[in-house]
Symmetry: C2
Subunit: 147 residues, 2 copies
DNA sequence: GTATTTGCAAAATGTTTGCAGCTGC
DNA sequence: GCAGCTGCAAACATTTTGCAAATAC
């Protein structure tokens, strides 16, 4: 889990996906992927930048913003807005899933099944809406932050 | 529905709640409440300001931000961050509920039951998290925006 | 070699704060 | 009358854009 992006097979998958869309794997992108791979917590862009600069001090903030947007677009990263509206990022597995987030330490755990399809079907019938998706995040305190 | 805040009983409830917490009902607050009452769509602070200025041209943007924050704090309004991270506001009924949002016209319909408690209980047991809440919004196209 | 990417500076955007004057009650 | 509120200006935080130099492949 911790080495999601470090596992050679996953990194190759990222590189291949970039290639397929005309993008390139670069040193800054590798560094940012490594930062996300090493963290189990949601990170703000500034936090990603600070951590990435430990490995690569000349990295620019703009590159972090652009890279995070790209990784979201490609589906490798999720952008989450909690109540405060700040953008936070976490790595995302393939397929449909959501995050359970600790409001103490920002730890984020993925879970796949949300069981919302019955609700969505019912509301679609009742309202005539064509429901396309949903935003769902659970928030609470992880075992370490409950004391 | 359209006149949620205009109904005298509801307005009195807002006034009473403000009073109880040491706040006052003022002309700018009344105007902003009326704007939210008249709209069935999510509104950005700037949109609230523009609409409110039709009734009260001297209204300041800062007052809109402060009033929206206050109304969220008191539970009369919900602040929603969609994928783009922008803050949008909608009036909120009492009790637990969520919104079904049209990505075409920003129309927002409240619905009360989300059926997430089984999922939350299961994840709490599996992870040791003390789950305190959830962010849930359904997004799609309303009948008018599907054409 | 060439198209993509980077990093800087600057601009744009969105929101908050300090404060003097105004308003609700 | 006095506490709370407003509106302005300014500060602040965050994100985006234009562009020349660097880089991936």
């Amino acid at each position: 889990l911790k080495q999601y992006f470090n596992k050679s097979r996953n990194m190759k998958h990222v590189i291949q996906t970039l290639r397929d869309k005309g993008y390139r794997m670069t040193q800054p992108r590798r560094t940012i992927l490594a930062v996300l791979a090493e963290s189990d917590a949601l990170l703000r862009p500034g936090e990603v930048l600070a951590r990435a600069r430990r490995h690569n001090p000349s990295l620019g903030a703009v590159t972090v913003y652009r890279t995070l947007n790209l990784l979201v677009e490609l589906g490798f990263v999720r952008c989450i807005h909690l109540e405060d509206g700040c953008a936070r990022y976490a790595r995302k597995s393939r397929g449909h899933n959501h995050h359970l987030i600790c409001i103490g330490c920002q730890a984020a755990i993925e879970f796949p099944e949300c069981g919302l399809s019955a609700l969505m079907n019912r509301l679609a019938k009742e309202t005539g809406f064509q429901i396309q998706g949903h935003i769902l995040e659970l928030v609470g305190l992880c075992p370490n932050c409950q004391h």
